[in-house]
Amino acid sequence: MTETLASVDIRSLVEACATTISAHADELTTLDQAIGDADHGYNMKRGFDALLADVDTLAAKPLPDALKAAGTKLVMTVGGASGPLFGTFLMALGKELPADADRATFAAAFGKAVDAVAARGKSEKGQKTMLDVFYPVRDALVSGTSDAEIAALADQAAEATVPLKAIRGRASFLGDRSIGHMDPGSRSSALLVRAVAETLGA
């Protein structure tokens, strides 16, 4: 990640996120078919396609405002559990991020945004949800890990949800039968972390 976020290219970020979600939509839905209701890929794609359609408006805004607008857009288009959660994440991030954010203030804002997700979801780490990716990423940001390492770490964190038993989310209805499958929301979170890391690192 660049030292200051002032020069971030919002258009590239939106495009990178929408591209990876679109490319992996079927995979995400298949993951959700195993332990959920087979809609996660379509939900996410609907939301990020909507951001892409709005990219001119978003790119014209300062970063915090763009994040808030993007979060609201996700809330209004995604639905399901992931809509309010990813939406809350971006809205909170935009709210917490100072206009002149640097690496340290970004890490702090990211942490608050993750907490906002946990509050909205009444969930915590270890319950086989997207938080199992968000929290490790936050920790890495706080400790100054490189962008490339963070992307790899997010993938591992998603992978690490496989042996977990779901306590929150739709997969929790399965009890022990949720064990042995990757959490779809963790996979999409890792995809987004990588897309952002690679865009900022480029």
Binding site: Y42, V75, G80, A81, G83, P84, R168, G169, F173
Partner: protein
Amino acid sequence: MKKLMNSVGTILIDSLDGFVAAHGDILVLGDEHKFVRRKALKPGKVALISGGGSGHEPLHGGFVGHGMLDAACPGQVFTSPTPDQMLAAAQAVDTGAGCLFIVKNYEGDVMNFEMAAEMADNVATVITNDDVAVENSSYTTGRRGVAGTLVVEKIVGAAAEEGRDLAALKALGEKVNAATRSMGVALTSCTVPAAGKPTFDIGDDEMEFGVGIHGEPGRRRDKLKSADAIAEEIVHAIVADLGNAAQGEALLFVNGFGGTPAMELYVVYNSARKLLQAKGIRIARSLVGSYVTSLDMAGCSITVTMLDAETTKLWDAPVHTAALRWAM
């Protein structure tokens, strides 16, 4: 995938357009298909709003009308609606006495309705969670809201029509929900249009016991049993869970999941009623039909609501919706 549709992208709006056109005497469609609402509102009445993922028709749109809901917000298939839908619906049907949201207990539904409630004024929420299939639910997401939601909507809808206030309706909704238990069994999987293939694989001689209304796995996969055996296990689970409440009069509701013909639903009803009667419960009211479906899934659920004089009277009260209609 075999569906009567024009395309995966248009199936929902085509269906909603058809639905509102067929019932144009009582229903109006909101802008951008955000909600379906009653044509004639009743000033001063608390507005009842429900909604959820599509694919459960006639729930919820089929229960909009006199004596039941004021508006229903359809999400994408099996995906909860977004808060702007509930907000737009509330704006359209709140005549000053506030809105009661009736929400099935899924995190997606709960969070989206919650966000809408935070943005709107004077909203109370009832969460339905009648599915006893989910065991050890106390430390997780809790139980799912399934077919029993219809019973809550009907009884609370009748009370709203009588002019009760928001707090009283919320309390009544929670009382009915607490008196209601359901459990289902699937013989085949549903196919989500966008997914294009069945949600789960199931053998020719198997059933999914305790299935959810989105084709979520249930208690276990088992060999297909007789209707009597299926009803026995479900009725046993329901009665055990009701505990001391399992006495007196009940509503017995056998619900088809979309791909099950009426002949089979009545077979299951017949098994269930005999079992309940043997346990000393009197079947005071009955409902049999495909009201809370899972797209084209074959199978059914059994719902029991323990009734008292108040809820029986409200169940019997006039209702005029697309899917439930009596006494008017």
